[in-house]
Subunit: 355 residues, 2 copies
C-alpha cells in the first residue's frame, strides 16, 4: 500500500479470481465455471458484419443490445441495463441500494464477491447462515432490515431455490430490494425474471459468461422495473458511460439470435452433470443437488484441499475454498463428457492410491 492510498480502503480485501494458468493447454480447466463450448458460429458471423466501426465510441445506451435483451425476456428496454460483466451490475446495486442505513444481507456461504462489494462501498452487511444442509431458507431474512442478495442457484453449492420462495421473500417486505443473481440460472434453475413486472423491489442479474459461452467478452445485465434501472443508470453514467464495448455488444446480440445453440449446450452440460454426479456418488462422494454448471462435492476418503491439490498435480483444475463450513468440499465445473470422464478416472485412481 502506498502512503497515498485512502484510509477508507485500508481494510479492503480484494476478490481473488479463480486461477487462470498462463499455459492453459496443460490443464483440464474445471475451476471457473466457464462453458467448454465456443460461442455460436452464427453469433460470430453476425458480429463480423454488425460491429460499429472501432474508431467510434460504443453506443453508451447499448440500444440495440438492450432491445435484444428486452425482446428475449419480454420486458421493455427501459427495464434492462447491460454492463461490463455481471460483477459490474452487482457493484452498481451495492452502490445504489445499500448504505449505512441499509445494510446488505446475504448468506454465509455464497458468491465471495458480495462482502468485497460491501467493503468497497463501506456498506455494513449481515451474513445469514445457510441451514445445516446448505439450503437457503427465505424465512431467515424476514424481519431483517436491508437489501438482500441471493445467488440462485447459489455458489459454490449450486443449490437452486424455487421462484415461489423468491416470491415469498419479495412479498414479505415490499420496502426493501431483493437482488437475485442468476449467473447460473440456465442450467435447470427457475428464473425470477418473470416477477420484475409485479415487484418493483426486485433486480435480477444475469450474464453471458456461463450458458452463452462468452466469459471473455464481459457482458452482464440487470432486469428490473424502470425506476430501479434508472437509478442504476445514474450510477453507470457517473462511473463509465461507455461501459460495454462495440464488439461485445454485437456478439451479445448475435448470441441472443441463436438461442437454440445456447439451450442445446445447456442440455449437454446438464447431461454431463448427471453423469458426473452418478460417477462421484459411486465413488462415495456426497454431491449437493445442483441447478448450475458446476457441482459441489466432498468425500470422507479425501480431504477437500488434498483432493484439489492432487487433481491439480494430475492436470485437472477445480476450485477449493479454504473457508469455514466448506473446506472439505471442492467446486467442480461441468465440462465436456471427456473432461468429466477424466475427472472421474483420476478421482478413482487417487482414492485407490490412498488405500
Amino acid at each position: 500500500m502506498s502512503r497515498f492510498f485512502s484510509k477508507k480502503y485500508s481494510g479492503l480485501e480484494p476478490y481473488v479470481p479463480g486461477e487462470q494458468p498462463s499455459d492453459m493447454s496443460r490443464y483440464i480447466k474445471l475451476n471457473t465455471n466457464e462453458s467448454p463450448f465456443p460461442p455460436s458460429p452464427k453469433a460470430l458471423a453476425y458480429a463480423a458484419q454488425n460491429t460499429r466501426p472501432q474508431n467510434l465510441y460504443s453506443d453508451p445506451e447499448s440500444a440495440l443490445l438492450t432491445k435484444a435483451l428486452a425482446d428475449t425476456y419480454g420486458v421493455k428496454p427501459r427495464m434492462v441495463l447491460a454492463t461490463n460483466g455481471s460483477d459490474e451490475i452487482l457493484n452498481f446495486a451495492f452502490m445504489a441500494f445499500c448504505d449505512e442505513d441499509n445494510p446488505a444481507l446475504f448468506a454465509d456461504i455464497t458468491y465471495g464477491f458480495y462482502p468485497v462489494f460491501a467493503g468497497l462501498n463501506a456498506v455494513p452487511y449481515e451474513l445469514i447462515p445457510l441451514r445445516e444442509d446448505f439450503s437457503l431458507c427465505v424465512d431467515d431474512y424476514f424481519g431483517k432490515k436491508g437489501t438482500v442478495f441471493i445467488a440462485n442457484p447459489n455458489a459454490p453449492t449450486g443449490m437452486p431455490l424455487p421462484v415461489s420462495e423468491i416470491r415469498r421473500l419479495l412479498e414479505a417486505d415490499r420496502n426493501r430490494i431483493v437482488v437475485v443473481d442468476e449467473a447460473y440460472v440456465d442450467f435447470g434453475t427457475e428464473s425470477s425474471v418473470g416477477l420484475v413486472k409485479e415487484f418493483d423491489n426486485l433486480l435480477v442479474c444475469q450474464t453471458f459468461s456461463k450458458s452463452r459461452s462468452f466469459a471473455g467478452g464481459r457482458l452482464g445485465y440487470g432486469i428490473a422495473c424502470e425506476a430501479l434501472i434508472a437509478d442504476l443508470n445514474t450510477i453507470k453514467y457517473s462511473t463509465n458511460p461507455y461501459n460495454v464495448n462495440s464488439m461485445t455488444s454485437a456478439l451479445g446480440i448475435g448470441i441472443l439470435t441463436d438461442g437454440e445453440y445456447t439451450r442445446a449446450n445447456c442440455r449437454t452440460i446438464m447431461e454431463n452433470r448427471e453423469f458426473t454426479v452418478r460417477g462421484l456418488e459411486a465413488l462415495g462422494f456426497r454431491v449437493l443437488p445442483s441447478g448450475a454448471n458446476f457441482i459441489f462435492a466432498s468425500s470422507d476418503r479425501i480431504e477437500g484441499g488434498e483432493y484439489y491439490r492432487s487433481l491439480k498435480d494430475r492436470g485437472i483444475l477445480v476450485r477449493h475454498f479454504d473457508k469455514e463450513r466448506i473446506s472439505n468440499w471442492c467446486r467442480i465445473t461441468i465440462g465436456t463428457k471427456e473432461s468429466m470422464q477424466a475427472l472421474l478416472d483420476t478421482t478413482r485412481t487417487l482414492l485407490e492410491e490412498k488405500r
Copy 2:
C-alpha cells in the same frame, strides 16, 4: 429516482456524453474527438489470430497487454494498469487517492467528468480557475492540499502544458499525487510518462480511444510507480477483476505492434488541424493553441450555441458546452481533410447568410 436509491447519491449529476446519433451517416461527426481512421489492419489481423477463446474468462491481469504497454513506454509491467477505457482508471484514481481529508483539485474549465467522479465518491473538490487566456498556471496549485487532476492537453481547450511545468508541480509537493490525464497527448503535446520513474506521486492516464482509433474497444491505462499501481489494483480487484475483455486486449496489443500507423495518422490529424485553424482564422475566428485532435474556437460574428446549432442543421456535429466562460466557444474534432473542408465551407456560408 426510485424510493430505494441511496440518499448518498441524491445530488449526483451524471456525466453527459457527446451526442451519438443513431443515424450517423447523416452527419459529419466532429463532436466526440474520435479518430476518422479505422484501427491498423495489422492490428485487426493480429487480433483475429490471437484472441483468447471467448468461452474462457479474459486474463484478469491482462498480462500480455500490460507487457506490451510496458515495453512501449520503457517501464516495468508492474507500473501499468489496463482499464475499461480511461474513465475507469480516472475513477479508480478518485477512489484510491482522494477522500474527505484529501480533496481533488482541478481547473474550472477541464474534462467535465472530474466533478462527477468527485460527486460519485463523496470527494470534496476545489476548482482552480484557468487564467484569462485559458492557460493553466501550475503555481496556482502550490500550497493547496489535495490530489491534482490535470488534463494535458486540456479539454475542451486543447491547450498543452510543457513537461517542465508538470515537473515543477510534482517537485513543489512530493506528498500529494498529481494525475496527468493524457487522453490527447499524441497530437503534439509532451508526455509526462518519462517522469514516473522519478516521481512516486505521479499517475499518467492514457487511452486507445483517440490516436489509436479504438474508442469502440474501450481501452485505457495508467502508468505510475509500482506502489500506486498496486493501490489501483486493490481497487480494480474489488470492483471488476476481469475489467478488460479478451477481444479488446488482443486488438490493443495488435495496435501497439503497429506504432508507425498510429504516428502517421497523428501527423495527418495535426496537418488537418493546422489547415482548419488557418481557415477559421481567415474567417475571423479565434482559435486556442491546440496540442490535441480538436480545436476550441469562437467568433464575434456568430454566438457559440448558434454556431453549434447551425452546423448541426447542415449536417455537421461539433460540441458546445453551455457553461460559464466558454458558452461562446465550440469544440471541433479534427477529422479528414474533406470533413474539415466541409466545416470551413459551411462556416463561410453561415457567416455570409448572417450579413
